[in-house]
Amino acid sequence: MAIHYILVLNRQGKTRLGKWFNNAYTEGEKQRYTSEIHRLISSRASKIQSNFIEYQQCKLVYRRYAGLYFISAIDISDSELASLESLHFFVEVLDTYFDNVCELDLIFNFYKIYYILDEVYLAGQYQEISKERILERVRMLDKLD
């Protein structure tokens, strides 16, 4: 399995998005992982250290955007840089969709973030890598009611 989960956490450790592609985790594990990962990542020196850490048989790949950490947990054998850029791609999609995305957008439209995510990734795999096509489809779906 490629991506096990994607998390968006703010600096205080609040979850702004939690997508668990791998359904093996229990509720307790999800909570524990989230807080451990926040502790792990927020303590790292961004200037010096890499954006990758190994954690629980996965590799965490993360990048900080303003006050938010975007984190993706991938297989040990998967490409770190590809995942890192994929997170950036996802952020760009959000940024275009919300026109300068900020944390508040993710709060008020929390369910929409999941909808958008479902167009970029599915089953822990890349589904679409064309920004235009993703945005076109999301906007089309917005009109369906």
């Binding site: 369910y111 089953a123 795999q125 890598i129």
Partner: protein, 1018 residues
């Protein structure tokens, strides 16, 4: 959604956690009353959304009500309500504690099955999408390697029919010609999840796989991208398709990368479809890594580079070359740089499988070394990782001087990275040094690491020590160098009496093992130890005493062998040795003291006349009062043994010289395995390298690389700790377990491949091929295949030309034409013939295309072993699969001879005498469907390849045809003589008698001739 935004604002504006909590509890209470049967859809949607938000904030008491209401939303006919319903359900459902994966999935299916089926069958693309997305999200589970043998769901499960129905529905979206790419890509990924759960569905529907493999050639790149993981699992399930998948991927990559045919919307900044390229490259790598268990029970790869046709291989190599070239250019922008580097790393891990030239590998090394200068930690870290992988893989089977020797010039760069700002980079640099280490560069590497050791990170120290120890042991050829280096290492990081040590016990234990087992090391080791003890205990040096680990080695070695150097100088006298050890005694740990007591005891018993013996006895007496039980026990026992005269013989028996160690494993290697498992499982595989290094070592005369010849050459021979045991230990520890996807693992595989159903009307082409060397092989409304045979002894080339029949009638091209497989029925371990495609057809056929199959008969075979060519093609939206048999027959290898009638008669008798009738002769009655005259038979024999020696004229009543020829196989050639006589007067019944120089061969030929003459194909 109004109300929701307000609620979110309220929570955000709460002054403190308490107020927030209060606000949420109030909201939960209000919401509970709001769901009634009369609640309308949009209100329910809004309130469920609030519930979901509350749940995400960590209030799981709303779970139950949320689940109930989400089910109601799912059954709504309004899109946005249904969508929120599925989302809520997906988020609220969790794997429960102590629940098996099967229980989780069954529970999920129970609740959602009717809704999913309804939405999958709905005549609304977006409803279909929602159900598919839900399947891909909530039914996605991780699987282990045994998922085929031990599936989550199998045919005997109660709900297997339900799973089958869902899987079937999702499958039909993947291959539907009418659905949009959006549904197809989602369905491919959902199908991937379902196959993981219930693999037998795909295995029992053999034709599904062929259609699904086609997805990777879709025009829509989203579909291609989503199909990659699906194809990955399919070739795991049916490795026989690997060979046909590689050319498809090669073409795709070549188009994307070399021919610049990437659609503009697939670019990420300036890089064409980076994720797709990476996925495709990694898929090819997985093809090469795929193994199956062969008859000997060994893991063997499914494909090798030699199995790939030259065209595809050329494409792959040019893709690799392009990327390596790109990497040496200046790239602007971080996104581009990252994308390009990510691809480069993927390319590098593939390159060694492509049988790349030394130049190509050097080019890759060069590109990676350039990246080591990057300012970005990510890039430095990953470049090191890629280098480790490249060198580990490319040094297999090569002499140490080839790859890593060229690495020499880069060593200094890696030494600098040992001081990188980031510890993960430092650790990787260490791993890389370990990987490149060989018999030519070990000295500078080991010395550098010893220099580095004192300033290295605390948590890396033990790892460094273990690596130094293994490298020194594996490569050193100079025993003095080895001992000095290792003792130096111990004295540097030897730990202190409090028991804290940077170096694990394995290191000193190993040194002792090696010294004990190598007689010629005994005295040099003692000398070095004495010298080190002298300098360490020298007060002027200001050191804090003798390092603990060094002292342990000293206790052991001097106790056993100290006497060997006793007479060399004053310093090395036993008395001096004793004083040195004694002075360290009281500042050492209890464990070491116990060891030292044994050492002193050995001195006392073996050399009772030494002047220090009374001091030892005093020490034993003192230590009988020790509070440590172990020391007290030893002291008491030793005291009794040393002082009571009647115990003397017993005491001497106690201090008998140590026998050589016969432990089968090196403690260091298990340690190395652990270190690697923690630091970099899978990717770098340093443990695998240990294996390689150990094997390489055995060719040289190094410390422990012992084999038969250097044992006698009086080197550091340790009889029992041989290199083979080193190798086997490291193999055991290596994390690199070949994937288990094999025929043996897969109970369904054999059944499927045995009964490849042949396409209708295959017989006519097959029969024609047996008769004629050129003609029509197959024809239907879409295609016509004609063939031409080129014979060359045991080798036969079949040139097939595929002609597009639809071009004339409808003007449509044939697309996605692929030769999937030539399925040979010959036994695998020692095949009677070989068959391979030497030229592949074009995938798209406007007019015609050609492909070539080459066969080679190795030994006597039966026609029933003939192979089946399997190919797929798409024409005008319809998918076709052809399975056609081609004859690989002994009769195709026949050449004529210039035999006269006289020769014929003489040989006929000779064969009869030599082999007898049972072995050398076979006679059969045949009844051809048509009346035949003498010349018909003579022509037929000539066509097959025989020389007709004699035939009766057509106007005579009795027909007799005598023909002769030679059968060619790789192993041997056989002479064949055939007489054909008419039995009746009308030419419808014949007796054929065959005599042949190969035992049993006549019987097989008779069968083939019968099938040809009676026009039957089996």
């Amino acid at each position: 959604m109004k109300g929701l935004t307000q609620f979110c604002m309220d929570i955000r504006n709460s002054r403190d956690a308490q107020e927030e909590h209060k606000r949420i509890c109030t909201e939960i209470n209000t919401l509970k009353g709001k769901f009634t049967s009369s609640t309308n859809g949009s209100t329910r949607k809004r309130n469920v959304c609030k519930l979901l938000y509350i749940y995400l904030l960590g209030y799981n008491e709303v779970k139950e009500i949320g689940l109930r209401e989400s089910m109601k939303l799912i059954s709504s006919s309004v899109y946005s309500e249904k969508k929120l319903g599925y989302l809520t359900l997906g988020i609220l459902l969790d794997h429960e504690n102590n629940q098996t994966t099967k229980e989780y999935l069954d529970g999920l299916l129970d609740t959602t099955y009717p809704y999913l089926v309804k939405d999958l069958q709905a005549n609304n693309d977006e409803f279909n999408c929602l159900a598919i997305e839900f399947i891909a999200s909530s039914l996605n589970v991780s699987i282990d390697e045994n998922f085929v043998v031990n599936p989550i769901i199998n045919d005997s499960n109660e709900n297997a029919a339900d799973w089958l129905e869902i899987t079937d529905l999702v499958y039909s979206f993947c291959c539907s010609p009418i659905h949009s790419p959006v549904i197809k890509k989602k369905a491919s990924l959902a199908l991937l999840c379902l196959i993981k759960i219930y693999p037998n569905v795909i295995l029992s529907n053999n034709n599904w796989i062929l259609r699904l493999l086609n997805l990777i050639e879709s025009e829509d790149f989203g579909v291609v991208l989503s199909a990659v993981p699906l194809v990955d699992i399919l070739i795991h399930l049916s490795p026989q398709y690997v060979k046909s998948v590689v050319p498809m991927i090669a073409t795709l990559l070549h188009d994307l990368v070399v021919r610049d045919k990437c659609p503009i919307d697939q670019y990420y900044y300036d890089t064409p479809a980076p994720w797709l390229c990476i996925e495709l490259l990694s898929l090819i790598e997985k093809c090469f890594l795929l193994t199956e268990i062969d008859r000997d029970g060994q893991q063997s790869p499914v494909i090798l580079v030699t199995d790939i046709d030259t065209n595809s291989l050329g494409k792959l190599r040019s893709v690799v070359a392009r990327y390596i070239h790109n990497a040496s250019q200046k790239i602007k922008g971080q996104q581009n740089r990252n994308a390009q580097s990510a691809i480069l790393f993927q390319v590098v891990s593939l390159i060694v499988f492509l049988d790349a030239s030394k130049e190509a590998i050097e080019g890759a090394i060069h590109a990676l070394v350039l990246l080591l200068d990057s300012k970005e930690t990510n890039t430095r870290y990953l470049s090191l990782d890629a280098l480790i992988k490249l060198i580990a893989r490319s040094s297999v089977g090569l002499q140490p001087s080839s790859i890593s020797a060229r690495f020499e010039q880069h060593l200094s760069k890696i030494f600098i990275l040992l001081l990188d700002k980031d510890i993960s980079v430092r650790r990787k640099a260490l791993d890389l040094l370990y990987t490149v280490c060989n018999s030519e560069n070990y000295i500078p590497i080991v010395q550098k690491l010893i220099e580095y050791f004192p300033s290295s990170d605390f948590i890396l120290k033990n790892e460094i020590a273990v690596k130094i120890a293994v490298m020194a042991e594996n490569f050193a050829t100079d025993s003095a160098w080895y001992i000095q280096t290792m003792l130096k290492l111990l004295s540097l990081g030897g730990g202190n009496p409090n028991g804290t040590s940077y170096i694990g016990d394995e290191v000193w234990v190993r040194i002792v093992q090696i010294v004990v087992n190598n007689e010629n090391l005994h005295s040099p080791a003692c000398e070095s130890i004495v010298n080190l003890l002298l300098s360490d205990t020298d007060g002027a040096s200001g050191k804090a005493g003798v390092p603990e680990n060094l002292l342990k080695v000293a206790a052991f070695i001097l106790g056993e062998y100290g006497h060997l150097i006793a007479n060399e100088s004053d310093i090395s006298s036993l008395s001096n040795q004793f004083q040195l050890l004694l002075s360290a005694y009281f500042s050492s740990s209890l464990v070491t003291r116990a060891m030292l007591l044994s050492t002193f005891f050995k001195f006392t018993i073996r050399f009772p006349d030494e002047d220090f013996v009374p001091d030892v006895i005093d020490l034993f007496e003192a230590e009988t009062q020790s509070i440590d039980v172990e020391i007290q026990t030893r002291a008491c026992e030793y005291l009794r043994l040393a002082t009571v005269e009647s115990n003397k013989n017993l005491a001497l028996a106690v201090v008998k010289p140590l026998p050589a160690f016969d432990r089968k494993e090196n403690p260091l290697l298990t340690r190395l395995g652990n270190v690697n498992a923690i630091s970099n499982p899978k990717r770098s595989n340093s443990a695998v390298n240990a294996l390689q290094i150990a094997q390489e070592g055995s060719h040289k005369n190094n410390l422990l690389g012992l084999n038969e010849q250097n044992r006698s050459s009086n080197h550091l021979g340790v009889n029992s700790i041989s290199s083979s045991s080193l190798a086997s230990t490291s193999r055991k520890n290596s994390m690199y377990q070949p994937r288990r996807t094999s025929n043996i693992d897969n109970p369904f595989e054999d059944g499927n491949s045995e009964q490849v159903p042949l396409s209708p009307n295959w017989q006519s082409g097959y029969q024609r091929m047996r008769h004629y060397d050129a003609g029509i092989f197959f024809e239907n409304q879409f295609i016509k295949i004609v063939y031409r045979t080129i014979r060359d002894g045991p080798r036969t080339e079949y040139h097939f030309t595929i002609i597009n029949n639809a071009a004339k009638t409808a003007g449509t091209p044939i697309t996605k034409l692929r030769v999937l497989d030539i399925h040979s029925k010959a036994s695998k371990e020692n095949p009677s013939y070989l068959a391979s495609t030497t030229k592949l057809p074009d995938a798209t056929v406007i007019d015609k295309t050609e492909f070539v199959v080459e066969t080679k008969v190795r030994e006597i075979l039966s026609d029933s072993d003939s192979p089946v060519i399997s190919m797929t093609l798409t024409c005008g939206g319809s998918f076709n699969h052809l399975a056609l048999k081609i004859p690989v027959s002994l009769l195709k290898t026949v050449t004529g001879t210039s035999t006269t009638l006289e020769d014929f008669k003489i040989r006929w008798i000779q064969i009869g005498q030599q082999l007898g009738q049972a072995e050398g002769e076979e006679s059969i009655h045949i009844s051809p469907p048509h009346r035949l005259v003498s010349s018909n038979i003579a022509r037929l024999m000539t066509r097959i390849g025989f020389t007709v020696v004699y035939n009766t004229p057509d106007n005579e009543g009795n027909i007799l045809v005598m023909s002769a020829g030679i059968i060619h196989t790789s192993k041997s050639n056989y002479g064949v003589l055939i007489t054909t006589k008419s039995v009746d007067a009308i030419g419808k019944e014949f007796l054929i008698v065959i005599r042949c120089t190969g035992g049993g061969l006549a019987t097989l030929l008779a069968q083939s001739l019968r099938e040809i003459l009676e026009d039957r194909a089996t």
